[in-house]
Amino acid sequence: MKTFPWITVRPKHARFSLRIDRRLPKVGLIVGLLVLVIMIVNMGVGEYEISPFDVVKTLLGMETGDPQHVLIVRTLRLPRMLLSALVGLALGTSGALLQGLTRNPLADPSIMGINTGAGLVAVVLTILVRNFPARWIPVAAFAGALVAAGLMYVLAWRKGGDSPMRLILIGVGLSAVGSAVTTLVITIGNIYDVQRAMIWLTGSVYGRSWVDFWAFAPWVAIAVPLAWFQARQLNSLHLGEDVALGLGVNVGRQRAWILFVAVALAGASVAVAGVISFVGLIAPHVARRLVGTDHTGLVPTAGMLGALLLVASDWIGRTIAAPNEIPCGLVTAVIGVPFFLTMLYQHAKTK
């Protein structure tokens, strides 16, 4: 009997069906395990070293003989690790959606002006409005991301519909204007405020607590499943506008909706962790290697890989220059670019 590459879920009485790539469960399991292992190892390192076994014991509520472990692992390090995994998940998913949407393998929230919008708002608030409550900066940054994305969409739209190519190039243009204004604010600000803003612009999950985690978790809980459900629409869109129209997809509305989900994910991530670039770019590419180009498998896998990448980056950033900490946003850029270049090179050679 021939084995099909899909697992089909089609309940008799429910009005939906799902088609899952056969490779997805295996890949998902392996990546998930890796994320878990790195998180546990990462929770053990730092100023106060704890062995991985003790970390697991503490997490499971068992005694380890050191009363400090509970505080360090559960209150200080666990929320940070969980948050970095969720941010990675959100960024990877968002990147996969944007790449599918624009049919361009180089699309990424950091290139398309979404991050710049958020960054600009945060920098202005940190430097110019000096006693703006830090609690509200994420909210404002999220609003900035939404405004930037909205502007991008409105400017790219014209009679006869939107176009992925205009969308992406206008994103680049907006991003350049936004960074000019950011630079202006940076040149005139007080040097201490500027430095604070710069850390935020590089992206870091340093010192995040349960409060941040719970502020961010709902976004992921709502938007990531939405993204998974959009995946099959992406498959049709990916075949080209004409084909998608022929298949009965309302192209304009579907595109706007997918863009909105992608921006919500990226904006919320920027709000909580600052501008982390390249995760959204790389994760979908690796995912494509692992599970193929079908978006029903690609979108979840890209999310998982994003989580893996960010958790690993955070671990590297914490250990490589200890006792100093390198922001994980920088680590993703440093490992991301060479990786990406080799991948592009191989891709070009096989063509």
Binding site: I168, V172, S175, V177, I186, Q195, S277, L330
Partner: protein
């Protein structure tokens, strides 16, 4: 008589069609160009057969030459005006006096000689060479969106300078420029080779994205260094915004050789670039040695963009903006377009510098920010109306 009218119109039709063609997809561009070239050749052949007088063409050339002279005059006037403006306004006559019979005891002469003149000279030079570099990149890659800032060259130069300050403890502006140069050259090569990967060679989209990616990489590296090193941040943040303030004549003298060589190379490329902008195959068919043209153009771009960054820091969008404006005026003949771009770029940057100084007196907006704020909307406008698919 009728034929003369027709001859006058042909260049405009040709220009606008090619201009539009350049913004369509690659496949359509080639098809359009072939059709266009056939058409134009046919018309040209008929014209050449029926009219033996080359009069209209000469007249156009004369008009363009006069225009260029007028623009140069305007540039000189505005440069003088720029010297006049400032914390203490100086009369134009004093400006001329300080240039031609310098009085060492006069404070005003001193201000003009050491502060304002170098500043306006830097603005003019940087504007000119950035616009030239932009025009060459746009012609060579047939990419209407090429610009030293967008293609990541300037962010590479910025990274070079930040590295120099942090790791080699370099403090002087003159030494910054060497590292800015190195950074610009490395990123230019990187972005071009990255953008040429895959099918179809260097398309506008691939180049722009490769540039954006390299920019993201370089700027996150730059900000990481600046986070760890507050002193460097304080020293370099104004430079990073792109400014022409506080330059001395020595810096200009240091970079002059590169500027001159780059400009000469650039201006010598006029004819070849006109052919190249019709497509590489066409250029080869017209007898261009495209490989050499590319190499010379690349050297010119690195020299020009590199010395621009070395002089004034990263200034975005100028190289994008000026060639497009000039194309509306002179058309697509690069022999005229290139000199016009040089003068136009100088004019624009000097004016942008004046705007940056006047608009929020007594504070100053760095000129790089002014150009980005002027050029960004222009870029978006171009994309909005020229990118069809």
């Amino acid at each position: 008589m009728k034929l003369n009218v027709a001859a006058k119109f042909i260049p405009t039709v040709e220009q606008s069609t090619i201009f539009r063609a350049k913004h369509l997809g690659v496949g359509r561009v080639i098809a359009l160009k072939k059709r266009l070239i056939d058409g134009v050749t046919n018309v040209a052949v008929t014209l050449a057969q029926s009219t033996s007088q080359p009069k209209p063409k000469r007249r156009a050339a004369a008009a363009l030459a006069i225009g260029l002279l007028l623009a140069t005059g305007l540039l000189l006037v505005i440069m003088t005006l720029s010297i006049n403006f400032g914390a203490t306004d100086v009369a134009p006559s004093t400006v001329w006096a300080s240039l031609f019979n310098y009085d060492a005891t006069s404070t005003q002469h001193l201000i003009i000689r050491t502060l304002r003149m170098p500043r306006v000279l830097v603005a003019a030079i940087v504007g000119a060479i950035l616009a030239l570099a932009g025009a060459i990149m746009q012609g060579l890659t047939r990419n209407p969106l090429a610009d030293a800032g967008l293609l990541g060259i300037e962010s590479g130069a910025a990274l070079g300078v930040v590295l120099a300050i942090t790791f080699f403890e370099i403090k002087t502006l003159n030494l910054y420029s060497i590292f800015a140069f190195a950074g610009a050259a490395v990123t230019a090569v990187l972005v071009y080779s990255l953008g040429s990967l895959g099918r179809g060679g260097p398309t506008p989209l691939k180049l722009t994205l490769a540039g954006a990616m390299i920019t993201a990489f370089c700027s996150s590296f730059t900000s990481a260094i600046l986070i760890l090193n507050q002193q460097t941040l304080d020293e370099v943040r104004l430079w990073l915004a792109g400014t022409v303030a506080g330059r001395d004549l020595g810096l200009i003298a240091d970079s002059l050789p590169y500027v001159v060589v780059g400009t000469v190379l650039a201006l010598s490329l006029g004819r070849s670039l006109t052919a190249m902008s019709l497509g590489e195959d066409v250029a080869r068919g017209l007898g261009q040695r495209t490989g050499w043209v590319k190499v010379i153009a690349a050297i010119a771009v690195v020299l020009l963009a590199g010395s621009a960054v070395a002089l004034a820091g990263p200034i975005g969008f100028l190289g994008l903006l000026v060639p497009h404006i000039m194309r509306f005026i002179v058309g697509i003949d690069y022999r005229w377009l290139l000199p016009y771009c040089a003068i136009g770029g100088a004019l624009l940057l000097v004016v942008a510098d004046i705007i940056g100084r006047v608009i929020v007196r007594p504070m100053e907006i760095p000129v790089g920010v002014v150009t980005a704020l002027l050029g960004g909307p222009m870029f978006i406008y171009l994309v909005r109306w020229r990118v069809q698919r």
